[in-house]
Structure formats: structure tokens, C-alpha cells
């Protein structure tokens, strides 16, 4: 073991993840009130209330089928692409109703980007992948600069700067996912949604993505869905635990928000017994 030189000046710098009071002092980015989602009449998620604050990482955890992926897709109206989905309740984005009639879903998706579970690079070159967003949105300014900036922010620039014209599908899984993050960053979003971004990756790539989240948190608001509790514990400031309620008569399953608090609280002294059971791994 090597000797450690401890710099005692660093003590104050490091945060363990923001405390709740610190989080709530920041501007609200999303304000969700009584949100429910149903697919062809079957309620998947019911009565969710929560606020997401600026420049924080918020994690949604819970067993499968609890509606956390459905919920995160409400934030950028990706549920619109599913014809059988019905969303009720209110989602306010910087105070404006996200589901109002005259809202431009293209603008929403530019500002609220998304990274998916399985990396989905386009079958084009690395450059064209990143440039796709700015091109379809007719963004001004140098495309080369945008691409470089985005790749730098996603901690991928050094690895691909000499092969921007190569196909994106030739990258490794971890690199592909960082490419997808860079792609989302290229359109200058405000919020980044991540739906289980590391679940298809190996542990080292996962750690890189988590480190990246810590860096990105300085400039963007991040919401992440994860089925890996420890990941939520490591990266999130606030954690929301969702669970499933089974209707005794109908046998239908609905997702509900059980507890939403600072990650520290959820993982040390959760208020709800269901939360305690889930995080300690004793969940049915």
C-alpha cells in the first residue's frame, strides 16, 4: 500500500451529495402534480407528485413494473409516440405546462434530452451522429465546434478525435453510450434524462458514466432511472422510490411513488418501511 499525502485543505470541498435543504433552495425545473399514465385504459402509474431542482441528479428506483421508465418518458413527452398512452395530471417545466395544447414537442425534446438503456448510435459516422441534432434543428454556428464541444463534455473527444469519420457502430459499448450522451449534449439541452444508461455496460464503463454524471451535474439537471440501487446511492442527490400496488379484485398492477427524499436519507433512515425493505434487498 502506498503512503497517502492528505491535503487537509480539501476537506470542505467534497460533497456527499447535496442535502435536501440545499436542493430545495435551487430553482425548480420540473413540478409534477398528480400525474397518472395509462396504456389502453390500464393504469401503469398513478398520482405522482414531485419536484426536480436545477443542477441536481435525481434518481428513480424501484422494482420492475413500477412505472419509473414510463414516468421519465413523461418529462420529454416521448410517451406521445405510443398511441395507446394517456397522460393525465400536470407537469410544469420552468413553470409552463408541458402538455399544453400549443406546446412544440420538438423544442421540448431539444431542451430535455434523453439517453436510452441500450446505446443506440445511428448507423452513420461519429461526426454525423453528433451533428444530426444540430442539423435537423438548423442550429447556427460552426458544426465542427459543436461536435468537438459535445464530445469533450462527454469525455469521449480524446478517444475519437482522429476517427470522426469512422462508423459509430465500431465503438465499444461504453464508448457508444458516451457518444449518445454527446449527441444529446450537442443540441444544448437544459435537462438530460437517462433511462438505465449503464445497465447494458460493463463495470468500468459504468464507473466512467457515473463520473461523467458528476461532472455534467454542474451544468445540467439530470434525471436517471436505475434498477441498480447502489448506483443511485453513488450518483444521486435526491432519490424517488416507486413501488407496485396490486389490485386485489382486478389483479391490475399500478406504480406509485412511495418516498422521495435526499439520497442520504433514503439510504440511512428511510421513512417508509417499503423503502427500507427495498434498499436492504428484502423486497419480495
Amino acid at each position: 500500500m502506498e503512503a497517502r499525502r492528505i491535503d487537509s485543505g480539501k476537506i470542505a470541498e467534497v460533497s456527499h451529495g447535496l442535502e435536501r435543504t440545499e436542493v430545495e433552495r435551487r430553482e425548480k425545473v420540473f413540478s409534477v402534480t398528480d400525474l397518472s399514465v395509462a396504456y389502453s385504459g390500464n393504469v401503469a402509474l398513478e398520482g405522482v407528485n414531485l419536484d426536480v431542482h436545477k443542477q441536481t441528479v435525481t434518481a428513480f428506483i424501484g422494482p420492475s413494473g413500477c412505472g419509473k421508465s414510463t414516468f421519465i418518458r413523461c418529462f420529454n413527452r416521448m410517451n406521445d409516440l405510443v398511441p395507446s398512452a394517456r397522460v393525465s395530471g400536470t407537469v410544469l417545466y420552468h413553470g409552463e405546462d408541458l402538455y399544453a395544447r400549443d406546446v412544440d414537442s420538438v423544442e421540448i425534446r431539444r431542451r430535455i434530452g434523453m439517453v436510452f438503456q441500450k446505446p443506440n448510435p445511428f448507423p452513420k459516422s461519429i461526426y454525423d451522429n453528433i451533428a444530426f441534432g444540430p442539423r435537423v434543428l438548423s442550429m447556427e454556428g460552426s458544426l465542427d465546434e459543436r461536435v468537438e464541444q459535445a464530445l469533450r463534455r462527454a469525455a469521449l473527444w480524446d478517444e475519437v478525435k482522429d476517427r470522426l469519420k469512422d462508423g459509430a457502430l465500431g465503438l465499444s459499448g461504453g464508448q457508444q453510450q458516451r457518444l449518445c450522451i454527446a449527441r444529446a449534449l450537442a443540441v444544448e439541452p437544459d435537462v438530460i434524462l437517462m433511462d438505465e444508461p449503464a445497465s447494458a455496460l460493463d463495470p468500468i464503463s459504468t464507473t466512467r458514466i457515473e463520473d461523467l454524471m458528476h461532472e455534467l451535474k454542474r451544468d445540467y439537471t439530470i434525471i436517471i432511472v436505475t434498477h441498480n440501487m447502489q448506483q443511485a446511492a453513488r450518483v444521486a442527490d435526491m432519490t424517488a422510490f416507486f413501488s407496485v400496488i396490486v389490485d386485489e379484485d382486478g389483479g391490475g398492477r399500478r406504480g406509485v411513488l412511495v418516498e422521495y427524499d435526499s439520497t442520504t436519507k433514503i439510504f440511512t433512515t428511510p421513512s417508509d418501511k417499503r423503502t427500507e425493505d427495498y434498499v436492504t434487498g428484502r423486497f419480495g
Partner: protein, 220 residues
């Protein structure tokens, strides 16, 4: 990789070392107070113990958070556990200093015997050295040096027995006896500080080797 986590570990260790420095100052202060029979200095040491206790509880809380949020394993886990134990030892040392200070205050109005005082001051200086060594060995992850603490502790124990022997001689002088009894307790406190320093050395060995072993056995 895991930059945040590494930063948290570094912060924990830095906090521990800082508290160690504070306790070192307390030890030096009580040794000085003994030599000069300075009651005000004793009061300062007593007051300062609050800071030491707060720091220990802060360390404990931070360790709880690190365990809950970062799930450290292997070397990281041993470091966290070693810090938890060593932090407690440091806090105990602080308490010992408070006891010494209180006793010194209590017996300040009585006559002192120079030989005993010299022995006690000597014990204090050796303790200071032991604590210094234990903190440095921990920081350097130096098991050899940590094991050497056992030898230094022998010297402290010897001085303790010396004081005891001296005081036995005061049996015919009630005032001196009263003073002497108090000094026996002071010597005992120093001896406990030494033991705590050896314990920190054992934690260093645990941190590096992964095995916990007493440097001395209790039959000694």
C-alpha cells in the same frame, strides 16, 4: 475514476489526522501544565475537548454516509473501518487529557514532589511521541513503524511503575499521599494514552495486511 468517492475518503482521513493534531496539542499542553502547575492551561484543555468530541461524531456520521452511499470494499472498506476505530482512540486520548487536566487543577494547591513531576512530564513527552508516530505511520501505511510503538509503550509503562513506587513511599505523609494518589491516576491516564496509540498502530497493520492482531497480549 470514482473521483467523488476518492475525495470523500481523502476528506475522512484528513479530518482524522487533523483531530489527531489537536489531541497532540492537548497532550503537550497537559504535560506543560504539569511542569508549571498552570491551572489556566488546564482549563483550556478541558474546554477544547468539546471540539474533539464534535469532530469524532462528525467523522462517525461521515463514515455512516460513505458506507451507505459508496459501499466500499476491500482496501477502501478497511480504511473506513480503521478510521472509525482510530478516530475513537483519538477521542479517548482527548478524554484522558481532560482527566489529567482536572486532576492537576484539583491538586494544584498541594506541594509537588519534583521527581514524580519529572517522571510524569517524561511520560507526557513519550506519549506525545507515540501519538505522533502512530499518526504518521497511519498516513504512511508503515506497518514496521507501527509495530515499533509497542516498544515505546514499554517505556511509558516503566515510568508508570516508577511513579507508583515513588508514591508508595509517601504513605507516612498524608498531604503528600493525597497529592501522590492523584498523580498515580495521572500516570494511569498517560499510560492509557500510550495504549490508545498502540491501538492506532494495530489499526494501521489491519489496514495494510487485512488481519487484526494485538501487538502485545493481555498477559503482559
Amino acid at each position: 475514476m470514482r473521483v467523488e468517492f476518492q475525495g470523500e475518503l481523502d476528506a475522512l482521513e484528513a479530518g482524522f489526522q487533523e483531530t489527531g493534531e489537536i489531541v497532540l496539542r492537548s497532550i503537550r499542553a497537559v504535560a506543560d501544565a504539569l511542569r508549571t502547575q498552570d491551572v489556566e492551561l488546564c482549563d483550556e484543555v478541558i474546554a477544547f475537548d468539546d471540539e474533539i468530541d464534535d469532530r469524532y461524531h462528525g467523522l462517525e456520521k461521515q463514515i455512516e454516509l460513505v458506507l451507505a452511499r459508496q459501499t466500499p470494499v476491500a482496501g477502501d472498506l478497511r480504511l473506513v473501518l480503521a478510521l472509525l476505530h482510530s478516530g475513537l482512540h483519538v477521542e479517548r486520548m482527548g478524554d484522558q487529557c481532560v482527566t489529567i487536566a482536572k486532576l492537576t487543577k484539583l491538586s494544584a494547591h498541594l506541594d509537588t514532589k519534583q521527581t514524580v513531576i519529572e517522571s510524569l512530564v517524561d511520560m507526557g513527552e513519550r506519549c506525545e511521541e507515540m501519538v505522533r508516530v502512530s499518526l504518521d505511520a497511519f498516513a504512511a501505511r508503515d506497518v514496521e513503524t507501527a509495530r515499533g510503538l509497542h516498544g515505546l509503550d514499554d517505556l511509558v509503562d516503566r515510568a508508570n511503575r516508577q511513579v507508583f513506587g515513588e508514591v508508595l513511599g509517601y504513605v507516612h505523609n498524608p498531604e503528600a499521599l493525597e497529592w501522590g494518589m492523584r498523580q498515580i491516576t495521572v500516570a494511569r491516564c498517560f499510560e492509557r494514552i500510550g495504549d490508545n496509540a498502540v491501538d492506532i498502530g494495530e489499526q494501521t497493520a489491519f489496514l495494510v495486511t487485512g488481519e487484526f492482531a494485538e501487538f502485545t497480549d493481555a498477559s503482559h
